[in-house]
Amino acid sequence: MPSKYHLKPKPAPSRFVPPGPFGIIEGDGCLNCAKCVKKSCAYQVYQKRSYDDRQLTDTADSLCKNCFRCVQECYGRVLSKSANPEYWSMGDEYWTPEIIGSNQRQAEAGKIPVSGGGYGGPFAGPGFDSMWTDMSEIVRPTRDGIHGREYISTAVEFGPVSQPAAFMPNRGSEERQAVSARLRVEVSVPILFDLLPFQEFPQPVLAALARAAKETNTLMILPAESIAGELSSWRAHLVPLLPPGNLGPFTPLIQQCRMVQITQDEKTGERIGEIKRANPAVIVSVRVPLTPLAEEKIELLARAGVEVIHILADGQGREQEASQPRFIKDRIRGLHRALVEQGRRDRVTLIFGGGIALAEHVAKAIICGADAVSIERPLLISLECRLCGQCSPKERCPVEINKVETSWGRQRVVNLVAAWHGQLLEVLGAMGMRDVRRLRGEAGRAIFREDIEKETFADIFGEKMQTRLVKAQPVQQGEIACAPNT
């Protein structure tokens, strides 16, 4: 039985009032009733509300749970509800307000999001929303109540599985094996922290993430140049991204870290050799953009014996440098399958990043063939970032992310990882799986929309129309307003 993996989430309240999806609007005509409906709010929204002068918002909008009771019981009919534009304008089409809001709540509480009522979202959607994970009605006893969950392993290993690295040609086989055992790095969750987008972040922010990486036993990729001072103490959990050019200045770092990363270019082979000479025990991961040509590059790297390949889509999970970008989910399947066919899949670890926005994406990416995933934006979201995309030295960050304190930031990120880990366990438990490594590439443990449509509907309705991708309709109702006397 694997050892238990316990994270310790603790509430870490938001520094800024998170915008709620719906606002309360108070119109004219209050009758000043002795028994005001506001007093009987089930959530004491009106008692707890305050005015936040930093953000100029009424906290009622984020406390309100939208039960409509006050709206429906007010004698003067002065209360009404509306959509809160501050909430609905967060993020973009991919990083939806719901995704941002949910991750922020997870970072705050460290708990799996649980709610009442059935699912209220679209039937399906593009990308990860066009697949469902499987379950078993009658499963092996993976779970004893909720307690056995802790024995479900979410650990993944990096480094050579059976074959000693090809970059040690001059060493004996015993030595090779010893090195190869030392080479393996295990993380407890298949979620790595990747380079942060948008801007350079100050040391306390990076330190918060590095400490969280240590506490959750995972790895954090960051530019080698930024590893200094306090950060160096978490070297074991840092993966320095080495810049092109002379590696000399980074030799100490290479010797102290367990894994380093380089960006793929024509000199990749040479550079790996150079790094391995400096530290034979270090794992070298190669960063590759997910382009239409990724198959070839990855085949070459795998053939050359590269141990870890980190493949990156853009921030929205789309292929890079493509006129008609495909989505990461489908590309993972293709790349995984290609390596399986070449007989090389087990000699290389694949990390995929870009567009991993929710815990469900971790499970789905792994089902499609990833060994692990990397996240960036969710890390910032857990530090309250709303993805407004206006980072610049001139503009003031609405959530003052540069002022994040290390200990608070660490707890927020630990909370997020704890919540995602818990959700991963739910998915694995539902399938009766004890080990996330068994999920890799198990496309049979998923239901892909294209496949199930073909299987169940093709006989009934014939060929599906390819041209029309039907999106869920906006849920807002039509805007008909009738002026008087028209």
């Binding site: 409509f68 799996i112 649980v114 009442g116 979202g121 379950m135 004893d144 739910e426 129309m465 999106k471």
Partner: protein
């Protein structure tokens, strides 16, 4: 048509019911009362010399402009305004958009299809039932079957095993909702509606409250993995026992009841500790094979020799095998709960991602049962996102014999889908709560009448749908996928609105 219980008007229990449109009377109003005289729907009412606040929920909106009694135009002071209710912006549910909530409420209030231009058939999820349409053949009105000839009855035992041939008058029954997840009042209201329509409702897995004793012959009791409140006595009380292997909202996970909702009454019923969260395990720890499953079924049959056994499962990729396995283990009813099913509390990740939507599972299982030659020996029931009479007809046309409803019952009691049933004292709208103070805020007679009315409207619609299809029994519709159009496959302009027929048949609608 089944015998119809009395439909009585059961208006909203809130002072300000929500309408699609909001009518406003400004200060210029002289309380002359003309609008009250004009409006045939009762939007405007005068009490003494004063006008009351407009009843938004009865206003038919801009479609009223063609009427000579259009109040906005006729008001001598120009003091009336009407617009789409801005509150609807805060009802953002793709599966239950505002129109569907409002139309459900209207049906629950008056027992007929909604009178204004509300969408009463589908939601806005962009897939599944929401992309399917019914295709009615052109049958001359004179040749349509008469209303009285059409049967909506459903036989639940097809095994010919000597057990009672239980038949229900309508092709739907109520899904399991435990005492704990919902209030005693809610349970009783559902039970009364089930009795009135000669169908069933289910206790869920939280025990069998004594208050449901009078409804025993219309109750299903659930045996779920937590075995909360299950005893030989509870199994012997009923005509149908349901094994809940899994639930569509959280397939592969056990039930959740968060600590706040474990009140003294709930704890007593479940033999648990007040305030402690209750998690049902997953799976049944006594069932790791189909053989174990058969032992389970045999056990129930032994304890209650006259009951039928239903097996409720979720929809994994091998749902067809599961269904066949259940049949051979002795189940009378296979109940598939699709992945978008209802719940009182579930992890969001499970609600959205685990297992397949019911729209795929029904044809998959139906076809497999046909191939195995056992389709007519078992009753196939579908649930998980069945919100309207149209969803029912579509589920049946895809291959189910009947359906189970849950959330729609709750909406009839004015659930607004705020999705906070899991936390704190539970539902502030007094439906999914066990808090003694909140529970008292909903009257049982009213609640029962609302559900009876909603069912009444559904039955009318189902009968009309069958007539328009030229069918005399709901059983004729099973697996008739030729009666369906899927808009992703066939770009057919299909309008399956049956409102004109319903209005025609009884003069006017509700």
């Amino acid at each position: 048509m089944p015998p119809t219980p009395e439909i009585k008007r059961a208006p909203s229990r809130y002072r300000n019911p929500i309408g699609k449109f909001k009518v406003q009377r400004d200060k210029g109003c002289t309380h002359c009362g003309l609008c009250a005289e004009l409006c045939p729907r009762g939007v405007h009412q005068r009490l003494g010399k004063k006008m009351l606040s407009p009843r938004d929920e009865w206003c038919i909106g801009p479609s009223c402009q063609k009427n000579e009694y259009y109040c906005i135009r006729r008001c001598p002071q120009g003091a009336l305004r009407m617009a789409v209710n801005p509150n609807l912006q805060a009802l953002r549910d793709h599966r239950w958009p505002a129109d569907l909530l409002l139309s459900n409420w209207q049906q629950a209030e008056a027992g007929g299809v909604p009178y204004s231009d509300l969408e009463y058939r589908i939601g806005r999820s962009g897939g599944g039932f929401d992309r399917l349409r019914l295709r009615f053949p052109r049958i001359p009105p004179g040749e349509l079957p008469a209303e009285e000839e059409v049967s909506t009855a459903l036989l639940l035992n097809r095994r010919e095993d000597g057990r009672p041939r239980v038949r229900i008058g309508v092709p739907f029954y109520g899904g399991g909702m435990s005492f704990g997840s919902v209030s005693n009042h809610t349970m009783i209201a559902r039970a009364r509606a089930a009795r009135a329509w000669d169908t069933f409702t289910c206790t869920g897995e939280g025990g069998y409250p004594e208050s449901l004793k009078p409804y025993d012959s219309h109750m299903i009791t659930q045996v779920a993995t937590g075995l909360f409140g299950v005893g030989e006595e509870t199994i012997q009380r009923v005509r149908i026992v349901e094994f809940k292997y899994a639930q569509g909202a959280k397939p592969g996970l056990g039930g959740h009841l968060l600590g706040d909702k474990v009140t003294p009454a709930v704890a007593r019923m479940r033999e648990a500790v007040v305030g402690n969260a209750l998690f049902s395990p997953f799976p049944f720890h006594s069932v790791y094979s189909v053989e174990d499953h058969k032992k389970h079924v045999d056990w129930i049959k032994e304890v209650n020799p006259r009951c039928l056994v239903s097996v409720k499962v979720s929809t994994p990729t091998d749902v067809d095998m599961v269904a066949v396995g259940s049949y051979y283990a002795g189940a009378h009813i296979i109940h598939l709960d699709g992945s978008y099913g209802g719940t009182g509390a579930a992890p969001d990740i499970a609600k959205k991602n685990i297992a397949m939507p019911i729209e795929y599972a029904i044809p998959k299982v139906h076809r497999f049962l046909v191939q195995e030659g056992i389709r007519n020996k078992v009753t196939l029931i579908a649930s998980g996102g069945v919100r309207t009479a149209f969803d029912m007809a579509k589920a049946i046309a895809l291959g189910a014999d009947g359906v189970v409803v849950g959330t729609a019952d709750m909406v009839a009691l004015e659930c607004i889908r705020c999705r906070n049933c899991e936390s704190g004292r539970g539902c502030p709208r007094a439906i999914a709560t066990t808090d003694p103070e909140y529970s008292e805020q909903m009257n049982v007679e009213w609640a029962a009448q609302r559900i009876i009315n909603l069912y009444g409207s559904w039955v009318k619609q189902l009968v009309t749908i069958l007539r328009l299809l030229g069918m005399r029994s709901i059983t004729e519709l099973v697996g008739r996928t030729d009666c369906l159009v899927h808009l992703d496959y066939q770009p057919e302009e299909t309008d399956d609105d049956i409102k004109p027929y319903l209005m025609g048949s009884n003069g006017k609608s509700a």
